[in-house]
């Protein structure tokens, strides 16, 4: 096991180094640079001033040198300065991470809370009216774009409650925070819960037809024990993989949701930074996301062994 862990850790490190190169190079291959963009708000681009600005920002240096400066800074915790706000990148990024983390966590919590049990119910009550309703709901969850759903929620709130649950000030209490994140996380978690529900259902249907389930029934085990202990434990493995992938991909859904609900998280901030070619923000933030994805994948792999005793990671 320890050799496996070391091997995985080294692989993770290698992946991250590769990703840092890809992020850095891709960002510089996109047409338009920060100097052009900064001049845009002045309505013109002066070539001389642009050259001076590029020099000031260190963009006139060869790309490998720029890359080395970035990595060297990363190693000592210096993320550089945002080109747009001229503030340290860490000060721009750090306060936004907990916001997105809470939103993502809540969305994932919602999706598991609804997706798993409803998937089990749908499988157990296969081809009943309840199953049909749940399947329609899950299908709509997969087909409704989250930005549309988010807008619909906002419009309904304004029309029926005369209130709009968007982020304008930092919430002061835990309750305020929960109230603020509840709707956006539901909007973004709806799709994931639909996916989890459908996968749980199909996985459960497969497991419920196994011999050991019939045996358990013959031995007089209760329905709850059969469904949630015997069947679900074995059906949950593919669902775990999907939850892991969804957790990693949640950032995509959050971009739109954060924009619509005006939540100042990293997802929305990242898009703005990309549009502005704010390299120090984008490369550090994408790197951070890459670390999260790699770690989640690693943890998902490890969870297999916990969930299914047959799986062993050999040294």
């Amino acid at each position: 096991m320890s050799t496996y862990l070391i091997r995985r850790f080294l692989l993770m490190l290698l992946t991250l180094i590769g990703m840092s190169i890809v992020i850095f190079v891709l960002l510089r291959l996109v047409p338009g640079n920060i100097a052009d963009i900064m001049f845009d708000s002045a309505g013109f681009v002066d070539p001389e001033e642009k050259a001076l600005l590029e020099k000031e920002l260190g963009l006139d240096l060869p790309i490998p040198v720029q890359y080395w400066h970035w990595i060297k800074g990363l190693m000592v915790g210096d993320l550089g300065f945002s080109y747009v706000s001229e503030m340290p990148a860490i000060d721009e990024i750090a306060p936004r991470i907990p916001i997105t983390a809470k939103l993502a966590g809540l969305a994932l919590f919602f999706s598991i809370l609804f997706g798993l049990p409803l998937g089990v119910i749908s499988a157990v009550r296969q081809n009943t009216p309840l199953d049909y309703i749940l399947r329609v709901v899950s299908l709509s969850g997969l087909s409704l774009p989250s930005f549309w759903l988010a807008l619909l929620i906002l419009m309904a709130c304004v029309a029926y409650l005369g209130e709009i649950p968007i982020y304008t000030d930092t919430p002061e209490t835990l309750w305020d925070e929960l109230a603020l994140y509840l709707l956006p996380s539901a909007a973004v978690g709806f799709r994931a819960s639909a996916l989890i529900m459908r996968l749980t259902r199909s996985s459960m249907l497969e497991v419920l037809r196994q011999d050991y389930i019939r045996t358990a029934k013959a031995k007089g085990a209760s329905d709850n024990s059969i469904n949630y202990v015997h069947a679900l434990k074995n059906a949950v493995l593919p669902v775990t993989t999907i939850i892991g992938i969804e957790a990693a991909f949640l950032i995509g859904g959050l971009i739109i949701t954060e924009t619509v609900f005006n939540i100042p998280g990293v997802a929305h901030f990242l898009v703005e930074a990309i549009l502005m070619r704010d390299y120090p923000i984008v490369q550090n933030l994408v790197m951070f996301i890459a670390v999260i994805v790699v770690v989640i994948n690693f943890l998902t792999d490890l969870s297999y062994a916990v969930l299914d005793p047959r799986i062993k990671y050999a040294d």
Partner: protein, 534 residues
């Protein structure tokens, strides 16, 4: 013609509503409260001299004072509405080449340092590029090409030495784009933490979140400002921000953020809110790269101008409310623009669209183009609806004169870089003007060498005319010459104006003392007279 007059009448009525709102200043003002705005995006910086966008000028205007300013209680900026600000009085020399200001004493910057003539000299030396420190961007350099030097006499007198007479120079100093900067604060700090003498102090800017300003307790104008501060919550999604305003989350919308179709929705959902709907002096115009063939041929450009059916644009995009104009905005909202009668005499502006297009086709046929030999071009524009939508209609109009155009949408942040590189054939652009004066308009957008003259239009005889009108006092004679220049600019396809935009700004009924300017969205946002009747 009749329709145009009806439209102007309707606009006048709407403007009167705006004036009525301003008149409410006469009520007993109350102090206190923080005015909540929404903002459409993070301002590029806090340095007004370095930006050409109301994303910066609207929120940050209250940080600064000018030497002189347009009276915020009067909605139409003109030379007659200029009032003292940091300058208490001013006088022209006999030959009109020296403008001397006496400066207000006892004024302090937000950091406690005193304001003196040195700060005025530093500010305009910075703009002229004569200072040690430099502005990263200097979009209004072209306004000051006639400014030779600035001299200080003691701590409270300063003289602007002009190369030649330019009565409208005072107008340039009165706009929101001409604040006085402190000499002791470097440009970099002015971008991130601006310091001025104005009624509000900058507190903080969080990207994509909020810009916060607080009351300057030591403001030199007694009793002002009424507000304890103003905050601008940044909301990128237009649907969200307008919904939030409707729900009462904000006291005011962003400057001119509500489009005509959207205004109908706002009024339906929140009938109690008050709105000023009117021209914003931002024109939608055609830019043609005059350095590339066949557009270096004036005849091709003339044919393009003749193909435009402006009424179609106005009807489709502006719901009949946008305005037909030349480069300058016509009265009653503007001061210098051609009236409908005068406009009708400009080539391409008559309502006989078919007649115009027949003439255009004849020109194109003379150049060898016909149905079998159509000119293929790309119409480049920013990938934003207000740019893209008119570009699509333009493409349709160009088809009428043997031009097959293809839409080329450009990522918005790359737009000006592309235009500056002259990497386009035909483009569709929007142009706003900081001061409704021919000097600002002509020197910024049509003069040889100006960085914002995107088409590269440059004619010595026009430069002479620009100078001639610039040396004239405001009055009928100057106006007649300005109309003649504007007519020639439109017919030369220097940057043909398709229409002048109309937008709305809305506020809750308890917001008092704000007057929306009718001829520049870049002025009138000092907010020192605004108060909340809560």
């Amino acid at each position: 013609m009749r329709r145009d007059f009806t439209k102007i009448g309707a606009l006048a009525a709407v403007m009167a509503l705006g004036l009525g709102f301003g008149a409410s200043v006469a009520e007993a003002q109350k102090s206190g409260g923080v005015l909540q705005f929404y903002h459409r995006g993070t301002p590029p910086s806090g340095s007004i001299h370095e930006e050409a966008t109301n994303s910066t000028s609207s929120p940050y205007m209250g940080v600064f004072n000018n030497l002189v300013m347009y009276d915020h209680a009067k909605p139409t900026n003109s030379v007659d509405t200029i009032i003292p600000d940091l300058a208490t009085e001013w006088a022209w020399s006999g030959d009109g080449t020296k403008l001397t200001f006496k400066l207000r004493e006892g004024v302090k910057f937000h950091d406690g340092k005193p304001f003196t003539a040195k700060d005025v000299v530093c500010t305009w030396n910075l703009v002229l590029g004569k200072a040690k420190a430099r502005l990263r961007k200097n979009p209004r350099k072209s306004w000051y090409t006639n400014l030779e030097s600035i001299e200080q006499k003691g701590d409270h007198e300063v003289t602007f030495n002009l190369k030649r007479k330019q009565p409208a120079f005072l107008s340039l100093l009165a706009g929101g784009y001409s604040p006085v900067y402190p000499c002791h604060v470097p440009p970099k700090k002015m971008r991130t933490h601006p310091i001025g003498t104005g009624p509000f102090k900058f507190v903080s800017l969080k990207q994509n979140e909020k810009v916060v300003f607080t009351k300057n307790e030591n403001y030199w104008k007694e009793g002002r400002p009424y507000l304890d501060g103003h905050e601008w919550t940044i909301i990128k999604s237009r649907s969200t921000r307008v919904l939030a305003f409707v729900a009462g989350k904000f006291d005011m919308t962003y400057n001119s953020d509500v489009s005509v179709p959207l205004l109908k929705d706002v009024k339906e959902q929140a009938p109690h809110v008050q709105c000023y709907k009117g021209p914003n002096n931002v024109s939608t115009n055609l830019i043609v790269n005059q350095d590339t063939a066949p557009f270096d041929n004036a005849d091709v450009r003339k044919a393009m101008v003749l193909s435009i059916d402006r009424d179609a644009f106005i009807k489709i995009l502006g719901h009949g409310e946008t305005i037909k104009s030349g480069a300058l905005l016509p009265p009653p909202a503007g001061v210098w623009g051609m009236t409908p009668d005068a406009l009708a005499k400009v080539a391409g502006y008559s309502t006989d669209v078919e007649g115009n297009r027949a003439k255009a086709r004849k020109i194109m046929e003379g150049l060898g183009y016909n149905n079998d030999n159509r000119l293929k071009v790309k119409v480049a524009t920013r990938n934003i609806a207000v740019y893209r939508d008119p570009a699509v209609i333009l493409i349709d109009h160009l088809k009428e004169i043997y031009i097959d155009a293809e839409l080329e949408t450009v990522e918005t942040s790359n737009w000006h870089a592309k235009v500056a590189r002259k990497d386009y054939q035909v483009g569709l652009n929007l142009t706003g003007i900081g001061v409704d004066d021919p000097d600002a308009m002509f020197y910024e957008n049509y003069a040889c060498g100006s960085q914002r003259n995107y088409t590269g239009y440059c004619k010595p005889e026009m430069m002479e005319l620009f100078e001639k009108q610039s040396m004239m006092e405001s009055g009928p004679e100057r106006k007649a010459l300005v109309w003649e220049i504007d007519k020639r600019l439109q017919e030369d396809a220097a940057r043909p104006i398709i229409f002048n935009n109309v937008t709305a700004t809305c506020w809750q009924p308890y917001v008092k003392g704000f007057v929306m300017m009718t001829n520049s969205i870049y002025n009138g946002w000092r907010l020192e007279d605004v108060w909340l009747d809560k």
